[in-house]
């Protein structure tokens, strides 16, 4: 497979975008990405979205968005893998360029969650409909089961979970596109409304509208346009049982472990080689478990690491979620995976402003679907 480069990126603000439809936000992000890349055409596009059908009654998003972007008749495909839809869309774009089938591909993600659907019910379609959701469990509920198990097995504390939210809000306060730019304290997290014991409101990523897009291209195109050669050096994906009760253990996300193994191997890198990592913090516990399963910290030590500040930008050990993560940046489901890639792109380009990790050369993004039934990981590098 030949080299694949990310040459442009664009996203909307994430938040409650009452005045914009799903098409409006998609087009805004896509046009920004195309302009940033400096390309005059795209060969194909992928649109990641979890549930446009249930949120806004619209499926067939590939066709809809190609139409509204004004790029008919190029091929356009809707990609879905629950909360990993964005990462999965990026992966398809990567393969299409890597294989030589296309030169320039738009990889995008979008979700419009505030148009009136019962969000809890829609999000639950990422879990086992018949044997989890039928019984009334919600997504916060599923991650709460993981949290309790992790706390009981490893002694992870409520304060450690809160530390993740505090750090991510601090990073998000420096991100002009973040939904929440306020900082929070551990005390505020611990006092926020209980959603599903032990997870509270401030442990949970919010409901958001948003779109994000990147342009993925061949090295030839990147050179012609004189773009910084930010190469995709690994793309990996793995799956696990759909139901949490089908897992061998509740405290390890095997899809993350397996995807990470493949990603490190493909990139010929080790965890300590990462200069920064964007992880899927749909809930604070998810960040803690992901940092362990990505090999950044020993199993069971993810909470301690967060509380000690080892994942902060300032500490310079292994900054996690410099963008603010899903918690502070927002989580328009399908857009998240692409927004993670955008953070890597900006960091590796040196344009991350107040969030910049000095000398960032290698960065990883971990995007996950449901309670860990799917995981997509990418590693980007600039020399």
């Amino acid at each position: 497979m030949r080299d694949v480069v990310v040459i442009g990126a664009g996203m909307t603000k994430f938040g409650e975008l009452w005045g914009q439809s799903i098409k409006d936000i998609f087009v805004e992000a896509a046009l920004k990405a195309i302009e940033d890349a400096g390309v005059d055409h795209i060969d194909s596009m992928y649109v990641g979205a979890m549930s446009s059908g249930l949120f806004v009654g619209q499926e067939h998003l590939g066709a809809v968005m190609a139409d509204y972007l004004g790029v008919n008749p190029i091929p356009a495909t809707h990609v879905e893998s629950a909360c990993a839809s964005g990462g999965a869309a990026f992966r398809q774009a990567f393969f299409e360029v890597a294989s030589g089938a296309s030169e320039i591909v738009l990889a995008s993600g979008v979700e419009k969650m505030t148009d009136g659907a019962d969000v809890t019910e829609v999000l639950a379609t990422a879990a086992d409909q018949e044997y989890e959701v039928y019984h009334g469990i919600t997504f916060p509920g599923l991650y709460a089961l993981i949290a309790r198990a992790h706390m009981e097995q490893f002694g992870t504390t409520r304060e450690q979970l809160a530390a993740v939210a505090v750090k991510n809000h601090r990073n998000g306060s420096k991100n002009p596109n973040a939904q929440f730019r306020n900082e929070v304290t551990v005390e505020q997290v611990m006092k926020s409304t209980m959603v599903a014991d032990p997870l509270r409101l401030l442990d949970c990523s919010p409901v958001s509208d948003g779109a994000a897009a990147v342009i993925v291209a061949s090295m030839d195109v990147a050179k012609k346009l004189k773009r910084n050669p930010i190469r995709v050096i690994a793309s990996a994906q793995a799956s696990d049982t759909i139901a949490l009760h089908g897992r061998k253990t509740l405290t390890t996300l095997n899809s993350v472990v397996k995807a990470a193994e493949k990603a490190y191997k493909m990139a010929d890198k080790k965890p300590k080689d990462m200069n920064l990592v964007e992880v899927h913090d749909c809930f604070t516990i998810a960040e803690i478990v992901a940092t362990e399963d990505l090999g950044l910290f020993e199993k069971g030590k993810g909470g301690e690491a967060a509380a000690n500040g080892w994942t902060s930008i300032e500490c310079k050990m292994i900054p996690v979620n410099t963008s603010g993560g899903l918690k502070s940046k927002g989580h328009p489901v399908g857009a998240t995976g692409i927004a993670q890639i955008i953070e890597l792109y900006e960091q590796l380009n040196g344009t991350a402003g107040a969030r910049q990790v000095p000398n960032a050369h290698v960065a990883m993004a971990q995007n996950m679907g449901g309670s860990g039934a799917s995981c997509v990981i990418h590693i980007l590098e600039v020399k």
Partner: protein, 129 residues
């Protein structure tokens, strides 16, 4: 309307019928066509044991609209005697007194309604013993 799908699921929801792999003996609930352990494709029908232990649980305080009248309610993963794990509500309990490791038993209860005029949907829930 979930009538046809609900009807298909009655053997599982009402009677805990599972499939036991003829090759390796792994029990899958609900029944499957491919054994997740050995990829075998022949099974026999077995009934799960209705007693077990609470492996982990949470108390859902913010639910979907359908379950909003029942909050706060406890949901957890129960490991039944025999090894199969299921997700189920823990009912008739003081949600603040639950502890992992507690012994539970499955009982027949109404799980949800298909709206105001749709069918009643029944199934299993756990009670502490």
């Amino acid at each position: 309307m979930i009538t046809a799908r609900y009807h298909r699921e009655i053997p599982q929801r009402y009677r805990l019928e599972a499939s036991k792999c003829s090759k390796c003996g792994h029990t899958a609930f609900p029944p499957r066509l491919v054994c997740p352990e050995c990829k075998g494709k022949t099974f026999e029908t077995v009934k799960l044991n209705d007693e077990g232990k609470l492996i982990t649980f949470t108390v859902v305080r913010v639910s979907s609209d359908k379950f909003s009248k029942q909050t706060p309610f406890a949901v957890g993963i129960v490991e039944l005697n025999g090894g199969v794990k299921i997700t189920t509500q823990i009912t008739d309990a003081d949600v603040d007194e639950l502890k992992t490791g507690q012994s539970v038993k499955l009982v027949f209860r109404k799980i949800q309604d298909d709206g105001k005029a749709g069918i009643h949907c029944y199934g299993y829930k756990a009670i502490t013993t």
